[in-house]
Symmetry: C2
Subunit: 338 residues, 2 copies
């Protein structure tokens, strides 16, 4: 009999994939599933590109370019060179090996297969037993209202290097989306013990997932401890535009702000030890308590594979000490259509 | 003012592209257009691949792999290596640079552009002023009834290396196709002086073109000399399965058989000098005469660029000595729907 999934990681791209890899190394890989943001997906050159899913896939498969955290190691760029020579758009880098995923996925989507089915097959091709679950099979696009107009995520993040000021975020298509049957089945399974929100960007990577109607309720109704790892280290994000966006949206850059953001969903927040001294004492500690969120600290910076494994173990142990606030016996709020 | 097209070459892939290149070198390139077979086109990995159009494009652009006669020189195969590693179909070689055409063409076709428009843009990207005209914008597939069942052309030719015995040829979709407006406009233009059927496979490369309803009549109604260059040299085809297919279809392998095949369409046939002695004397010469086809001889083997230029000049001069049998004043038979 196949072992059941015990841990569900919820992830965006590079940062989340690091913790997912740590979890895949400290757990039997088949006992881990990763719920991945698809709000960064876009259609480019007619190909459907799923940036976060592919980053998690390549990371878990051990073929990722570890220097940049995305794309393939041992990659070539003949396609890109030629596209540039022909005057095509060259701002989004597509390696020759990487292209295989995009071509195959586009073909299957056009043939009517679901993204969940397709990613399961692609993961199998890479020898993964960890399941990769797109947040939904419906197309959802994270759109950013910015100082230079509304932008699709990759145009904001890659083409414009996160430079425009962000005024508002939308998750286009989210209202028509729903969690996949595979995800809902997993969340109802008796083997599931823990849900871990990886230290991905809460606004750009995790919020699109939570914007899928029924998703929050389904995660809560699993009635297992939900732990988030804060993306802040020393009062700022390790990488990417998290803190810049928080500033632009007028959000205080603090672990408490992260906790408030996830309030009602998570049971515990793992904060970097560098932030613990300033944030977990006195009145601030009381605020966490009011939110019903238990806080613990750890070294959350993941430079090495050992860092990833260690943080995975800490997060799993932290979750074991928590009790979910909602019982498993009230699934009505999320099952069925929303 | 743009110069008008004086010469229309009618071509399949590798062999035809050689003469097209010769023509593009002895004529101002903008005065040449190439009408290309699309019966070899197929959809592979979800990408629309137009083998003959791309071979002609790469050949005229000077980027073709001259050893094999198709594909790109200076090519890399990262995509192919990875596809193979993932267990994908590896029988059809797709270079990384080559992929740019297929991806771009597939995207534009899906967006509703015509193949004629797309190929015009792609040719422009490669700096070509010679026009590449697909035989039609409708999908047509050359299907072969063979000893191992019905096969699409590329499956027969590439995957099964032309080994199965051919019993019959079909051009699926041809009945619903029509020549493009651009081609019809060109055939009606006053600048056109000559049509040259390149030494491509008459059955696999030229017949699909002629199978498009209205095509034969449109070519004749241009009322310019039509010259074919025989694909036979020394009683056999230089390359590819032409003679094998002629044998299997019970067709005599001779220049006379080629002439009979094109009878009613061409005014002149250029035969290789190695075939002239045996075929153009006595009773055989009378047969050509009965078909209304003037025969001339030349060295038709094109090993070097000089060979291509020389044969192009010979074919153009041959055409100048001929008069078309049908006048330009009877276009009714081919205009409009068929």
């Amino acid at each position: 009999m196949k072992p059941g999934v015990r841990v569900l990681a919820v992830s965006g791209g590079v940062g989340g994939a690091k913790l997912a890899l740590g979890l895949a190394r400290v757990l039997p890989p088949a006992e881990l599933a990763v719920l991945v943001n698809t709000g960064d997906d876009f259609t480019h050159l007619g190909l459907r590109i799923c940036a976060d899913l592919d980053t998690v896939l390549y990371t878990l498969a051990g073929v990722v370019n570890t220097t940049q955290g995305w794309g393939r190691a041992d990659e070539s760029f003949g396609f890109m060179d030629e596209l540039r020579r022909q005057g095509g758009p060259d701002w989004f880098l597509l390696g020759d090996r990487d292209l295989v995923l995009h071509v195959e996925r586009s073909r299957r989507l056009a043939a009517g297969e679901t993204l969940t089915q397709i990613m399961a097959d692609l993961a199998y091709r890479f020898g993964l037993t960890t399941r990769l679950l797109p947040m939904t099979d419906a197309p959802v696009a994270t759109l950013l209202d910015t100082s230079v107009g509304q932008l699709e995520f990759q145009h904001y993040f890659v083409r414009l290097r996160s430079i425009p000021e962000v005024q508002r975020l939308h998750y286009a298509g989210a209202a028509q989306a729903r969690p996949s049957d595979d995800l809902l089945t997993l969340l109802r399974s008796r083997t599931l013990e823990t849900i871990i929100l990886c230290p991905s960007n809460p606004y750009l990577s995790i919020d699109p997932i939570l914007a899928v109607p029924g998703m929050r309720a389904a995660l809560r109704a699993a009635a297992v401890p939900i732990v988030a790892v804060s993306p802040l280290v020393g009062g700022r994000a390790v990488k990417g535009p998290t803190t810049k966006i928080m500033q632009e949206l007028g959000i205080e850059i603090s672990s408490l702000a992260i906790a408030s953001h996830y309030a009602g969903l998570i049971d515990g927040l793992l904060v970097d030890e560098s932030d613990a001294r300033t944030e977990l004492t006195g009145s601030v500690a009381k605020e966490f308590s009011k939110l019903g969120i238990v806080v613990d600290t750890a070294r959350t910076l993941m430079s090495t594979l050992d860092d990833r494994r260690r943080l995975a173990e800490v997060a799993l142990n932290f979750a074991k000490r928590l009790r979910p606030t909602e019982s498993r016996t009230a699934p009505k709020s999320w099952s069925g259509s929303v």
